[in-house]
Amino acid sequence: MSWWPVLALCASAYALKAVGLVIGERLDRETSERWSLELVVVPVLAALIVIQTVSSGQRFVLDARAPALLVAAVLVWRKAPFVVVALAAAVTAALLRLVA
């Protein structure tokens, strides 16, 4: 396999990250506060959670991940420690798949 695809991927992935930082630094404080840049991350993370839970490729798939997320949601709401949330999600999904 040629090295070109590998290097092209690496260079463009880094460029995307760097472009965001450079644009952010060029914005003056007033603009970035008015546009509350931190808030943009909220819907993106929410989308990431949904996609990671109910998709397989481009298909909508309901499997053991959904009940695992539900368990995690209850634990997050009850302010359980992070590690407990992560472990509970893994154990729920693993057990459900074992039973299925």
């Binding site: 695809p5 880094y14 760097a18 991350v41 993370l45 990431l48 695992a68 509970a88 798949r97």
Partner: protein
């Protein structure tokens, strides 16, 4: 090992990531990349979903023209993340250039989940170190040892990531504005999942913040017009 919660959280993210890195290593070698190419990808590209998509498409015979666009669409959200990390990613130019490389889902979510600027910076750096180490060691192990290590799904690890991101999103959901933006983002992603190419539903979800931002801009402008000293 420190008992500091940020350290503990960063370490647990690292452990889960390492297992996924192993599967990336296995897949990449199976798709025809050498061990060296696989490791260079994890070191220099360092964005999991893009790498997995890239080697899967190439492995399926898609070629570079087929593999690069979906990989970059998936990496596109890192640009949004970097934008949101204004003021958090700091330091001299070389340091910022280095930190740019580790702007990904986990580091961004961990940073924004913290209450103070100092904690945000610490969380970003600690998560970055754990994640970078785990991702690259895991990749090497997977590329060299190959199959036979089992599927991460059997251990329920695919369910860990959404759970972790939920735990990191929760502290950011202060107030109705953030809740509405989160809900809008989730709905946009769900609606686009069957039609948009991979990566697009997640980037497009950022539009979920637009109505809230416009509303708050309008409110602020009106507020300023009426009482210049009132601020927001």
């Amino acid at each position: 090992m420190s008992n500091h919660p940020i350290t503990r959280n960063a370490l647990s993210i690292g452990v889960a990531t390492a297992v996924y890195a192993v599967s990336f290593g296995v897949l990449s070698v199976a798709a025809g990349f050498s061990v060296a190419q696989t490791c260079v990808m994890s070191l220099l590209c360092f964005t999991g979903a893009s790498q997995l998509t890239f080697v899967s498409v190439i492995g399926a015979g898609g070629g570079m023209a087929g593999a690069l666009p979906p990989a970059l669409l998936l990496a596109g959200r890192n640009a949004l993340y970097a934008l949101s990390l204004k003021g958090i990613v700091s330091g001299t130019v070389p340091k910022r250039a280095l930190r740019a490389q580790v702007v990904v889902d986990e580091t961004t979510a961990m940073a924004h989940a913290q209450p103070t600027l100092a904690a945000k910076r610490l969380a970003f750096d600690l998560t970055a170190v754990c994640l970078f180490t785990a991702w690259n060691i895991g990749t090497l192990v997977g590329a060299v040892a190959g199959r036979g290590l089992g599927n991460p799904r059997d251990y329920g690890l695919d369910a860990v990531f959404p759970a972790v991101f939920l735990a990191l999103l929760a502290p950011q959901l202060r107030g109705p504005e953030a809740m509405r933006a989160a809900l809008a983002g989730a709905l946009i992603a769900l609606a686009l999942l069957p039609i948009g190419p991979a990566g697009v539903p997640i980037i497009a979800a950022s539009l979920g913040a637009v109505p809230v931002l416009l509303a708050s801009t309008r409110r602020r402008r009106v507020g300023l017009g009426q009482a210049p000293e009132a601020g927001r």
